[in-house]
């Protein structure tokens, strides 16, 4: 009997689904090794198919995307019941991801902004004698483990093919890591970065330069050039693809195992090397980071300590 797996997406962009396809030829080996019992994106499965399965009959469910609305919460809970193992697949499921930035606002304000004076869609519509309902927004975006217990995490936005391949091998093999593990190396990206040797031991930043406002030199550490790269804070595993494309790391692989709040730690590390001592001087260097929340908590806001913006 081949293990039964499921793929599901919550509040997602589709990139994590694509990365399954990105396995390329290896995808054929995957579908030989497992039976895909549920994959709404690619195959014609419906919710009732999932409901019909006996509990714990799925071996592994890979769930990507953050939890934004009631339907996603319900599906997550259903999958938890039907699957022995839940893997939070990708940054959104692990940390909340980009959709998590909605937590800088609130659902009311978001709907008002999106729909303006036309007003948000009604939650129920009658069509041909049937009632269609739109799932309501939760108060805040949650990572997957905000609604169900999660067994493993696969980091990345999206996880890279190598990480995914390795995850399949690990999860389908005899030696599973302890529950709660993140399936990627447990140290920061600098370990894998080809430019590590060019970062000086005495780096001190007196000005932050934004990516669009300068030309990044290809062979030198990006942080050394004054451009914020979150590589030092971010878990390795992606083999520094963004750096290879001459762009700084934005932190999509999330924190290492010793850090509880990715954004806070990244902020601390960056601030520690600011080259200023007087109140005013520090303030003017810090001004160069236009959007600290968006920069340091780009993928991790819902899983951070504060989770969301304060109430009124």
């Amino acid at each position: 009997m081949r293990p039964k797996v499921a793929f599901y997406w919550c509040a997602a962009c589709g990139g994590c689904e694509e990365c399954i396809v990105d396995l390329g030829d290896d995808l054929l080996r995957v579908i030989e090794a497992v039976e895909i019992a549920f994959w709404p994106v690619a195959l014609d499965y419906k919710e009732k198919d999932l409901q019909a399965m006996p509990d714990a009959s799925l071996d592994i469910a890979f769930v990507n995307g953050a939890v934004r609305n009631v339907e996603q919460k319900d599906m997550a809970e259903l999958l938890r019941a039907k699957a022995k193992t839940i893997v939070a697949f990708g940054a959104c499921a692990q940390l909340g991801g980009i959709p998590g930035l909605a937590n800088l606002s609130d659902s009311r304000a978001i709907l008002d902004t999106a729909y303006g004076e036309n007003g948000a869609p009604r939650e129920e519509y009658g069509v041909d004698g049937e009632t269609l309902s739109l799932p309501g927004l939760l108060d805040a975006v949650l990572p997957l483990d905000g609604v169900i217990p999660v067994d493993y995490y696969l980091p990345g936005c999206p996880p890279t093919p190598n990480i995914v391949r390795a995850a399949f091998e690990t999860l389908l093999g005899p030696d599973r890591p302890p529950k709660g593990a993140v399936l990627a190396p447990d140290h920061a990206l600098c370990e894998q970065c080809p430019r590590r040797g060019t970062r000086s031991e005495t780096l001190a930043i007196h000005e932050f330069r934004r990516v669009q406002a300068c030309v990044i030199q290809p062979d030198t550490c990006i942080l050394e050039q004054g451009v914020l790269c979150l590589g030092p804070s971010t878990r390795a595993g992606c083999e520094a693809r963004c750096i290879a494309a001459n762009m700084p790391c934005t932190g999509c692989f999330g924190p290492t195992g010793r850090v509880r709040d990715f954004g806070a730690k990244a902020l601390s590390a960056v601030a520690s090397v600011i080259d200023a001592r007087e109140d005013q001087d520090v303030a003017s260097v810090v001004d160069g980071i236009a959007d600290p929340a968006g920069t340091f908590f780009r993928y991790s806001l819902p899983s951070s300590f504060l989770e969301r913006k304060c109430g009124k």
């Binding site: 780096l203 971010t234 924190p255 010793r258 850090v259 730690k265 601390s268 590390a269 090397v273």
Partner: protein, 664 residues
């Protein structure tokens, strides 16, 4: 690695501290509360936890109840953390499996509202119980102590400390920035209450310093830089050029005699500007070392290059004078440091109402010391700036002391020295003397008797703070005099007292560069600016920086007996660590979890002690435990959490935060 939570067994001890804590905090209720917290196996309250029976409670419970963590809720850890850790160790447990809760200095002594104080005490206790569960056994670091000592300041405090240490066989560097040691005491004529001649009791000690094989005396020198930590200090001393070689000079002083300036013309700092000296000079006749100094600001050769250099001729074939001497920087290694940098007198010009600097016959106490001194500018006669001998003298107490407008503290010595000066002036001149005081503070041994003596000498004592000194005469009896206006509070009316001479009893202040000096030595100061002692009663000569001790007025105003006592105490503290050979420091060093480090190098430049470096083999960071001081800055800065701090682990602090706030 910590044990699984179920194996943690905590003993919690709540101290009454008599009524200090129990008067505000309901200690029984707190002990009860602790009993109900997770992992607490034993909870007691006791009157005095730091006493022997209190400490025995801990020791016995560890054994009898198989405890493996201890929490004591009592006073500040700064006071008794060591005491309780020692008791834990005696009980057979690692002393760092211990946490203290401060419910005295930070609760019972500062909060009136009992409900809220108890609420706070419970929160703090809960936090400690959660934190201590995560503590791991640790071993204190041993730091070896270099046996040499640096004494900074060559006044009586520094001299006594240096001699005590040298006599104990330790090598001492005594660094003094004036050309001679002696400090303020060398300027005094007689000392209270015995009227000993200051020079007679000081100069033998000064000579002993010069002769002592274990003392390296560097005068005209200052500490320029300091690196290192207790037991291992590297000090850079700047040796200013005297232009006369200490090794070659025989002390004959013929160079001074022979100087082209036949008359001394330079205002003499030692005599507070009352006398004059030549550009080549000895500070005072008993100066140690007996080696003249050339002052390049006033020496013709330095100013114009065109002097006959009769001084060099007079020196002859000793060739001791070397005008090409350069400033030198010397670096030495010492294990401990005693700061004895003394005080400065309050600048009487700041008390504008007393007319110092305006009226020539207003003097400061130090100036009068020089007048009455036989080796002073007037040979021991009290002669005013206009050449007259005073027939009436007013001595104004508390100038720059006990005053909201200048210094709020009492300078402790001024009442006694004011009495002394009253006696000496009267002895030399037979003048009528008025002491204008606020309170007479004569507490020391023999001091009350000295006061009685002065009362018997018919010195007038008027109780009142002097409002002003003026030369504006209201009638003929005041013409040509200085008039002291003061409310005589005992008689109940305002007086005008015409006198020939006014003496201002100026208070003692921290030295002008006290702030730079304390930063150099990494110590703190109290609000007034005097160097801060670790504890006024339990550790009056220690500072919060291990290995740096205090002696004399740099720590606060005091007289010579107390200075010498304190200086001996400082020497004893230094001797204690030198002879022990090492000290134990708190094992709160940071460490890199090597497999977690990604080699990002963020930490390397953050350490002011250069304790962090990169391993050549894999480019990861490593922390040198001997250099790490345990501040934890690198721990917070590490972007991926690869650096941790013993005793202040992230996990331990999170438990404390969550414990203090959450009622779970």
């Amino acid at each position: 690695m910590s044990e699984p939570q179920s194996a943690v067994r905590i003993g919690v001890y709540t101290c009454h501290c008599g009524t200090n804590i129990a008067g505000v905090v309901d200690v029984c209720a707190l002990a009860n509360y602790a009993r109900g917290l997770p992992n607490v196996a034993v909870s007691r309250d006791y009157k005095y936890m730091c006493s022997d029976p209190g400490l025995d409670l801990i020791r016995h419970d560890i054994h009898d109840h198989d405890l493996n963590r201890i929490v004591v809720a009592s006073c500040s850890p700064h006071l008794h953390e060591r005491t309780f850790r020692a008791a834990v160790r005696m009980g057979g447990l690692n002393p760092f499996l211990f946490q203290m809760v401060n419910i005295r200095e930070q609760v019972s002594w500062v909060h009136d509202d009992r409900n809220l104080a108890n609420w706070k005490a419970r929160d703090l206790l809960r936090a400690a119980v959660r934190r201590v569960a995560r503590h791991r056994p640790l071993e204190p670091t041993l730091i070896a102590i270099h046996p040499d000592v640096l004494v900074v300041g060559g006044g009586i405090a520094g001299i006594h400390a240096a001699l005590t240490l040298a006599n104990a066989g330790k090598h001492v560097y005594l660094v003094e920035r004036e050309p001679s040691i002696g400090g303020h005491m060398a300027r005094f004529d007689k000392t209270f209450p015995t009227l000993d001649c200051a020079a007679c009791i000081l100069t033998p000690k000064m000579s002993a310093v010069r002769r002592h094989p274990n003392i390296t005396l560097w005068t005209y020198s200052e500490v320029a830089a300091l690196e290192g930590y207790v037991g291992n200090y590297r000090v850079t001393v700047t040796r200013r050029p005297r232009y006369v070689s200490e090794d070659l000079c025989s002390g004959c002083l013929q160079c001074i005699e022979a100087c082209v300036y036949k008359q001394a013309k330079v205002a003499d700092e030692f005599n507070c500007g009352l006398g004059k000296r030549k550009p080549i000079y000895l500070q005072f006749p008993q100066a140690v070392p007996q080696v003249p100094v050339i002052d390049p600001q006033n020496c013709i050769q330095f100013k114009s290059g065109k002097c006959k250099k009769t001084c060099i001729d007079a020196c002859g074939d000793r060739h001791a004078i070397d005008l090409r001497m350069q400033e030198e920087q010397v670096t030495i290694a010492v294990g401990s440091i005693i700061l004895a940098t003394g005080f400065q007198a309050y600048d009487a010009r700041r008390a504008a109402c007393y007319g110092y600097g305006l009226y020539p016959n207003v003097y400061t106490a130090l100036e009068v010391e020089r007048l009455v001194n036989a080796s002073g500018p007037t040979g021991g006669d009290v002669i005013l700036r206009d050449g007259r001998k005073p027939a009436t003298v007013g001595i104004v107490h508390c100038v720059g002391s006990r005053d909201e407008n200048s210094n709020s503290w009492c300078s402790r010595v001024c009442c006694m020295y004011s009495l002394k000066l009253a006696h000496l002036i009267k002895e030399r001149t037979g003048a009528e003397i008025f002491n204008l005081y606020i309170d007479m503070r004569t507490p020391g041994k023999g001091f009350e008797e000295f006061y009685q003596k002065l009362l018997n000498e018919r010195v007038h004592f008027i109780r009142g703070r002097v409002a002003e000194v003026t030369d504006w005469a209201l009638d003929s009896s005041e013409e040509g005099k200085l008039v002291i206006r003061v409310e005589d509070t005992l008689a109940g009316f305002v007086r005008r007292i015409p006198v020939d001479m006014v003496v201002l009893s100026t208070g003692l202040e921290p030295q002008a560069d006290a702030a730079e000096v304390r930063r150099l030595f990494n110590i703190s100061s109290s609000k007034e600016g005097f160097f801060l002692e670790r504890h006024p009663k339990l550790a009056p000569v220690n500072t919060f920086t291990d290995g740096v001790f205090l002696a004399g007025c740099c720590q606060g105003p005091k007289d010579i007996p107390d200075t010498v006592a304190q200086s001996g105490a400082a020497a004893a503290e230094a001797l204690a660590i030198i002879d022990a050979g090492h000290i134990e420091t708190e094992p709160c060093t940071a460490y890199v979890v090597e497999e977690a480090c990604s080699g990002c190098k963020t930490c390397v430049s953050l350490c002011p002690y250069h304790a962090i470096s990169l391993l050549a083999a894999n480019g990861r960071s490593a922390i040198n435990e001997a250099l790490c001081k345990g501040c934890g800055t690198c721990v917070a800065a590490c972007p991926s959490g690869a650096i941790a701090q013993n005793l202040f682990e992230d996990g331990e602090i999170f438990e404390e935060i969550e414990g203090v706030l959450s009622y779970a």
